[in-house]
């Protein structure tokens, strides 16, 4: 039973990452790999604040969101000058730079050693160390993120995003400041990643730089491509499949390290396979 709660919590975290990445990639058509970097900022902020300063978990979320917003806003300004492949390359460089910051800024992040002993959140004096309590909190967080994403894409703002994806230049002719829309959606989506990162850190209780690499961005990409771009429900389906499916490897008898690599192998292959044979995803409407 505890194992099921564990799977559910991981599913919730990656669903939040996938939903918010889908806003940028699926709805707006901006090919960003930056998500792992924002995920890392959220996770590290919570880890540092709750271990070193014994800060409150929820306060650390807010601080993480503020930092992430500032970083994403600045990166978004730079990205406004790039399109398509170059856009992706700059986000790739961003993930690389963030990774180096997590790795090299030893005084703050403890470098390759990582940060152990991140405490679970405490609400009204109750520590959420019980898996089912934590699962409940995560379910609430996922509903919140899903609701926010749903609200965004079904508003007029969301319609402009889709129009940017289809024909940005035409939209500019109609007087829309598309760069501001892109900057807004990019920054908002980064907030979602940082939010997920805070929960990830406090749940796993140990983080190190190896969790926030470009492969984690590729993993989130695999989820949204599998589920279908520009479909919120698709991201949930994709996250469910990609979180649960590799768990089967545990029962086949791979060692933990080999199982981790098999997982990476599977989603890499799955991403390629989807693009080759079903680019619209399982329930998607838009294809790359």
């Amino acid at each position: 039973m505890e194992y099921l709660f564990h799977l559910f919590i991981i599913f919730c975290i990656f669903s939040m990452l996938a939903l918010t990445l889908n806003l940028v990639v699926g709805f707006t058509g901006l090919p960003s790999l930056a998500h792992a970097g924002f995920f890392g900022i959220g996770a590290y902020t919570t880890a540092i604040m709750t271990t070193r300063f014994e800060g409150n978990f929820f306060v650390s979320i807010v601080v993480g969101l503020v930092i992430t917003f500032a970083v994403a806003f600045f990166l978004g300004l730079v990205l406004g000058r790039f399109r398509d492949d170059y856009f992706l390359l700059v986000t790739l460089a961003f993930v690389f730079i963030m990774q180096r910051i997590f790795l090299n800024w030893g005084e703050v992040t403890r470098g390759p050693l990582g940060i152990p002993g991140i405490p679970p959140p405490v609400i009204f004096g109750v520590s959420l160390s019980q898996p089912w309590l934590y699962a409940l909190l995560l379910a609430g967080a996922l509903v919140l993120v899903y609701g926010a994403c749903h609200f965004l894409v079904s508003s007029s703002f969301g319609r402009v995003l889709k129009a940017i994806r289809e024909d940005e230049d035409a939209l500019k002719v109609f007087g829309y400041r598309t760069d501001q829309y892109k900057l807004a959606v990019f920054s908002l989506s980064a907030l979602g990643a940082a939010f997920a990162g805070a929960f990830y850190a406090s749940y796993i209780s140990f983080i190190d730089p190896s969790t926030f690499t470009v492969h984690d961005s590729v993993f989130i990409w695999a989820i949204i491509v599998l589920g279908g771009l520009a479909r919120l429900r698709g991201s949930l389906v994709g996250a469910l499949i990609l979180v649960v499916l590799p768990e089967a490897l545990r029962f086949v008898g791979f060692s933990p390290d080999a199982a981790a690599q098999m997982r990476v192998l599977i989603y890499g292959a799955l991403l390629v396979g989807m693009l080759l044979y079903r680019p619209q995803g399982l329930v998607g409407e838009y294809r790359l």
Binding site: P31, L33, V78, R81, F82, D84, D85, Y86, L88, L89, V90, L92, A93, F96, I97, R100, I101, L103, N104, V214, H215, V218, W221, A222, V225, D257, A258, Q261, M262, V264, L265, Y267, G268, A269, L270, L271, V272, L275, L276, P279, R287, L288
Partner: protein
């Protein structure tokens, strides 16, 4: 004086690695018109093949190096046949090809980690010799790297200018559709291009393996650095990737010397992104 010579030597060594990657990248970009990020997965294949052939099978080093170069070439060719060619046929966007190549990168790296474990490994010493040039210490492998980058770039230039294969590549680089219409067997050229590009990456993996050792993640940095070198020189300009990469190497090693080794590569990338904001088409093109 000695320190300056050493910085120049280190810049040349690093720049030469980037230049070889940039050469391979530009060749694929010129014909296929997409960013092939599988580069990061192809580079370590060369090094690991040497490890498998010489250490595990006990065959001579020469055989291992040849197997590393040819094997990675075949891997590059297979990627094109299995993934990129079907996508091209469906007229998928360059972004789709890019994302697919990213999936391939992830796949290859995980496959190498499964086969050879993800821990750091070294290759046996190739040539145990050090040279002193104006006070700068350079190993034999590093010297081979520096010479190879120049030789491969010039060789590629001659190949593209003097042979019918080169003419076909340049035609495809200008316009793929027209190339097909005038009767160039573009798929055959793609096979050759991806084999050659893969072989160059394998060669990089072999030399870097001998120089600093192997781990499955090693390709990522060299990939980003090589693509950046190609962009600084001008995308798809096969010859200009070399100066672009050397400039990047000088920048990188200067930062390492004046500031710190750990922050050398991130600061280099930040500076180059800023540079790209002002000159998106590279240093040498208007």
């Amino acid at each position: 004086m000695e320190i300056i010579a050493q910085i120049i030597a280190n810049s040349l060594i690093a720049g030469s690695i980037y230049a070889l990657v940039a050469l391979s990248f530009n060749l694929m970009y010129a014909t296929g018109k997409f960013f092939n990020l599988a580069i990061g997965g192809l580079i370590p294949i060369g090094g690991y093949t040497v490890l498998a052939v010489t250490v595990y099978l006990g065959l001579p080093v020469g055989v291992g190096i040849l197997a590393g170069v040819v094997g990675t070439g075949i891997a590059g060719l297979l990627l094109d046949r299995l993934i990129y060619a079907p996508l091209r046929k469906r007229q998928a966007s360059s972004l789709t090809l890019l994302i697919a190549s990213l999936g391939a990168f992830t796949f290859l790296q995980a496959a190498l980690a499964l086969l050879f474990t993800s821990s750091y490994q070294t290759l046996p010493t190739l040539i145990d010799k050090n040279y002193s040039v104006f006070g700068a210490q350079v190993t034999a492998v590093q010297l081979i790297l520096i010479i190879s980058a120049v030789a491969c770039t010039l060789g590629m230039h001659i190949l593209l200018r003097k042979t019918s294969f080169g003419t076909a590549v340049r035609a495809m680089s200008d316009d793929l559709e027209v190339s097909k219409i005038i009767g160039i067997d573009t798929e055959k050229i793609f096979c050759a291009v991806f084999f050659i590009a893969g072989a160059i990456l394998g060669y990089v993996g072999v030399l870097v393996g001998f120089d600093v050792g192997l781990d499955p993640l090693m390709g990522f940095f060299y990939m980003v650095a090589g693509i950046v070198g190609a962009i600084v020189g001008g995308m798809g300009e096969v010859l200009l990737g070399y100066p672009g990469s050397i400039i990047e190497g000088v920048l990188h090693n200067t930062i390492i010397y004046v500031y710190s080794a750990a922050w050398g590569s991130p600061i280099t990338f930040v500076l180059i992104i800023i540079f790209l904001l002002f000159r998106p088409r590279g240093l040498f093109r208007k």
